[in-house]
């Protein structure tokens, strides 16, 4: 017990759970997130599946609905036998409005309720940190509106970024990238 106490009081070298992680894995972010079921997770809980990640906010009226539609299109093009190796993650840039309940509602309304869909929100600081890892720009331009870049990113099961599609996103390109990543396993 005393020995383990001593270990705890030494400055952290990096949590032991991240030691096996590659140095550039997104799972090195240790922030807490809530998903659409109200469960608190860490990003590394998403480890083990190829991730397709986008940042949106549910009350967005302009490009986000298109992004969401593209995510659904991308999902529909995956082989059903691959689907359990893939996680499509939508991260909110408006965590105050996008509570877990709100995210759940959104997921039901948009028919994104299978286990392959994950909706996340966290506190502002962690959200900003996450956006910066994705090189995503965003700015609150009114009490209810955000201006942000449109990027869909693909990550390997160990959290390393494979590629990003920006702007007018080519759905087929994302699907190809994800399939290649899944196969490489």
């Amino acid at each position: 017990m005393l020995v383990s106490c001593k270990e705890n009081s030494e400055p952290k070298q990096g949590a032991e759970t991240t030691e096996q992680l590659p140095s550039n894995s997104i799972f090195n972010l240790t922030s807490d997130w809530q998903n659409q079921d109200g469960k608190t997770i860490k990003l590394k809980d998403l480890q083990g599946k190829t991730l397709v990640v986008v940042m949106i906010y549910t009350t967005c009226k302009t490009a986000c609905p298109i992004l969401v539609a593209k995510m659904k299109m991308i999902e529909s093009k995956f082989d059903r036998k691959d689907i359990d190796k893939i996680n499509l993650v939508l991260v909110s840039i408006d965590p105050e409005t996008d509570t877990p309940e709100h995210l759940k509602e959104f997921s039901i309304k948009n028919e994104m309720t299978g286990p392959q869909w994950t909706f996340l929100r966290s506190a502002e600081n962690a959200t900003k940190e996450f956006a910066n890892v994705l090189s995503m720009k965003y700015k609150k331009i009114s009490p209810i509106d955000f201006s942000h870049s449109n990027i869909i990113s693909t990550f390997k099961p160990n959290g390393i970024l494979v590629s990003q599609e920006e702007g007018d996103i080519n759905v087929d390109k994302v699907v190809t990238t994800v399939n290649q990543t899944v196969r490489k396993k």
Binding site: G14, N28, A126, K137, D168
Partner: protein, 280 residues
């Protein structure tokens, strides 16, 4: 028996927590513990900035942005302060840092993890640090990075006025300072402070802000208005409000060219802090 074990276990946990009294906990969601940093002391004087309204460089010509009162470090974080930080927090040392948080030029001039370069001044601003590293430092001294609006609000001032932007030589005199080679190697506070008492806003380094990524343009801003709805959802106002302010163009050009993990030889930072004080 089972209860006794649980009780003993709890005592251990509690006493371990007590031992890590000094740890600053970065609170995230509803008090959940996430990243732990050893806190260090900061002796930097912080200046009260009363805030107000200002016209941002990228934005609407008619809508002013409000800046709430805040505290700002009077000068940038120095080499010796950052050294103290990495000694206390080895996970932020050069050879331990995760590649996610900084590129390969992180503290590249430092000969070892915990020594400054031989000819580096202890009180010169620290550079070759990423946004993640700057943020971690700020947390360890119980502060944060200034926001872009806060930084730009303070940047409006010259030595004698709070808003010197209309002065004919405002932009030119800043550019003169920007173009000085190797300014990043000099000590802090060697030039007069501005109206607020803040030093070296222009004559040492580029500085990280918390939301440097809130400028939604690309590196090519020749079209005055940037409105590509594909690239940026709700593009918002991205035309410059003062096209003669070349100094601001240069500063924003730097901001839009960097990513959070970049470490640049003339890019450092200073800290800020919230305040509830309202001074007249």
């Amino acid at each position: 028996m089972k209860h006794l074990i649980i009780l003993l276990f709890s005592i251990v946990i509690v006493s371990c927590s007590k031992e890590s009294e000094k740890e600053t906990v970065y609170k995230n969601l509803e008090g959940n513990k996430t990243d732990t940093l050893q806190s260090i002391q900061s002796t930097v004087k912080m200046v009260y900035i009363p805030g107000g309204e200002y016209k941002p460089f990228f934005g609407s010509n008619t809508t002013l942005v409000s800046v709430a009162p805040f505290l700002m470090d009077e000068r940038a974080v120095t080499n010796e302060e950052f050294l103290e930080f990495v000694i206390a927090n080895p996970q932020w040392q050069k050879s331990n840092i995760k590649r996610l948080f900084a590129d390969t030029n992180y503290l590249k001039t430092w000969p070892t993890d915990i020594t400054l370069p031989e000819n580096a001044l202890k009180d010169a601003p620290v550079c070759n640090v990423s946004w993640f590293a700057a943020k971690a430092f700020a947390q360890s001294v119980d502060k944060r990075l200034p926001t872009l609006d806060e930084w730009e609000f303070v940047a409006m001032a010259d030595e004698t006025t709070a808003n010197a932007r209309k002065k004919p030589k405002y932009s030119d005199s800043i550019i003169d300072l920007y173009l000085q080679k190797n300014r990043q190697f000099k000590s802090v506070k060697q030039s007069p402070p501005n109206y607020w008492g803040i030093y070296n806003m222009f004559d040492l380094i580029w500085e990280w802000t918390d939301d440097f990524n809130a400028v939604l343009t690309t590196g090519d801003s020749r079209s005055g208005e940037y409105n590509d709805k594909n690239l940026f959802c709700a593009g918002g106002a991205t035309s410059a409000t003062d096209v003669m302010n070349y100094a601001a163009y240069m500063r924003f050009a730097l901001r839009t060219s960097i990513k959070a993990d970049y470490t640049i030889g003339n890019l450092g930072f200073r800290c800020a802090k919230d305040t509830t004080i309202i001074k007249q």
